[in-house]
Structure formats: C-alpha cells, structure tokens
Symmetry: C2
Subunit: 132 residues, 2 copies
DNA sequence: TTGTCATACCTGACAGCGTTAGGTATAGTG
DNA sequence: CACTATACCTAACGCTGTCAGGTATGACAA
C-alpha cells in the first residue's frame, strides 16, 4: 500500500517554515523528531528529508526565530533542541496569514469551478512528544 | 489603505501553477488578463509580477499542460492566448491533491494548538472574462 | 567480533524559480 | 507630443529543495 505522496519542492518550501514553527509551538524539539512529527501529522503522506530540514533550522536560528541548545538524552544520544522565540511566534502568525490568504483564493476559484472542497485528511490528534 | 499583502516567494511558487491552471479551466486567457484575474480572485491581496508569470506560462507550454495561440483583439492588440490541455487538467487535479494534503496537515496542527481556523477572505464570485 | 538498523547530526554541487530590472511595441487620451 | 495602460519577453542574482555524501553511536542479531 502506497502511503507517501510526492509533494513538489515549491510546496515543500512554502510549508516548511510554518510547519516547523508550529511544531515548535507545541514544545521544544529536535531535527530527527521533527521529521517524524511531520510524517505523523500528515498521516504518513509527507516525508521530509533531513537534507532539507537542517538548513531550515539553521536559517530559522540565524533569523532569530528559534534558539538552539545541545542536550544528552537518557538514551545517551546528543540532540540539538530548538525553542521558538517571541520573534518566531510573530513570524509563525505572519506565515499563517499568508498561507490562509493564498488558500482562500485557491479555494475560491475551485468553488467557482464547481470542484467540491474535500475535507481531505483529518489530522491526527495525537499529542506531541513534549520537549525535554 | 494598504491592500496588497506581501506573499513570500516560496508561497508564490507553490501556488502559481495551480492558480494559473484553475484560471485556464475557467476559459482561455492570456498573460496580462491572468495577472488581473489573480488580483481579482484574491480580493486585491495578491499582486503577481509579469516577470514571474510569463516563465510560468512558457514552462506549462513546454510541459504540454497548455497550448498557446496568437490572436488580435478587437482593440487591435496582439495577445497570446493559452488553452489548458487534458494533460493540464490532470496536472491541475494533482496540484490540488498536493495542496489539500499540505493544507490539511497545517490546519491539523493549528487546530491542535488551539488556533481558530479563520474562514479568511471570501473569494469573489465574479464570473471570469470568458475566452475568445 | 562483525553487520545492520535506527538514531542524530551536517554539508556541497546542482537545478528550478521568483525578484528585480531592463527591453520592445501599440492604442487611447489630454 | 507626453503619458498611461495594455501586452509581450528576457537576463543576472539569490534562495532553497534534491540528491548524494559524510560522521558517530546505541541496540540487537549472527
């Protein structure tokens, strides 16, 4: 059974920042866990590569939207945890505004064309793994 | 009164193809008219540049999603009209699927975070200028 | 010991695409 | 004649995902 949907790179690029910021609003997290969280939130339909995520995290840090710290998990592994800043929360709100503006426009024309607005996948309500 | 919202380039890139294809499903159109239609559909919140749109149209043509023809309008101006192909309609459906998958995921986490899903802007119901 | 998998991080070359800025041409209007 | 709107096109630049590669460790099985 095929689960993963191929999402084109522009859509990945457009959603990566709001998605990562949203995950960090849930609580502090780290790269590898974020990759799994995205898979989980999308019901297995989205599969991010780490080669795409780490540069995103570094960029967010450079922009002051997140702060990073190293920690050693009980498992003994080192992890780089990220925490969203107040500036990051503002950015998150702005990203949401933009996304909703574009989404409303797309849905508007789809509706005009008589295309039924599928409710689509119902997002999982699983609670996030809370930060350390 | 400020109307135009700055939309970041990645979101523009992600929405340009589904938007253009949707507009062409409404009926044949040409570059300059598409720019105005986007402004109209978004309630003035989106403002595309022609330097971004023309390459999109050329790409869609190269991919076989649209076909182009030159026409002379009653105004005496030459226009390059585009018509969506059957392959373009398939691509349109695929773009919609991908958009809705990502949108559902984002809305899912927003909901979990307790962020109210604003209905946002209600798209205009103005009928499109029908193609020649 | 050795092999394999999952965990966990990082980087570089490449290609695609919007931004910005420039160009050309014509119809309508003052 | 100047100016605006219409209508098309292209090039240099920078950003960002893809793809492929790298390093390291813990758990488990052969």
């Amino acid at each position: 059974m095929r689960e993963v949907m191929e999402i084109n790179k522009d859509l990945i690029a457009a959603s990566s920042t709001p998605m990562v910021l949203a995950i960090l609003v849930e609580g502090d997290s780290y790269g590898y866990a974020i990759l799994k969280r995205v898979r989980e939130l999308s019901g297995g339909r989205m599969e991010w590569t780490d080669g795409m995520l780490y540069p995103v995290l570094h960029r967010l840090e450079r922009l002051g939207h997140v702060e990073a710290r190293w920690e050693i998990a009980e498992s003994g592994r080192r992890r780089k945890y990220y925490r969203i800043t107040s500036g990051g929360r503002e950015q998150f709100a702005e990203e949401r505004r933009q996304w909703q503006a574009v989404d409303a426009t797309l849905r508007g024309i789809w509706t005009e064309l008589g295309i039924p607005l599928s409710a689509g996948y119902q997002a999982s309500a699983t609670s996030p793994p809370h930060g350390a």
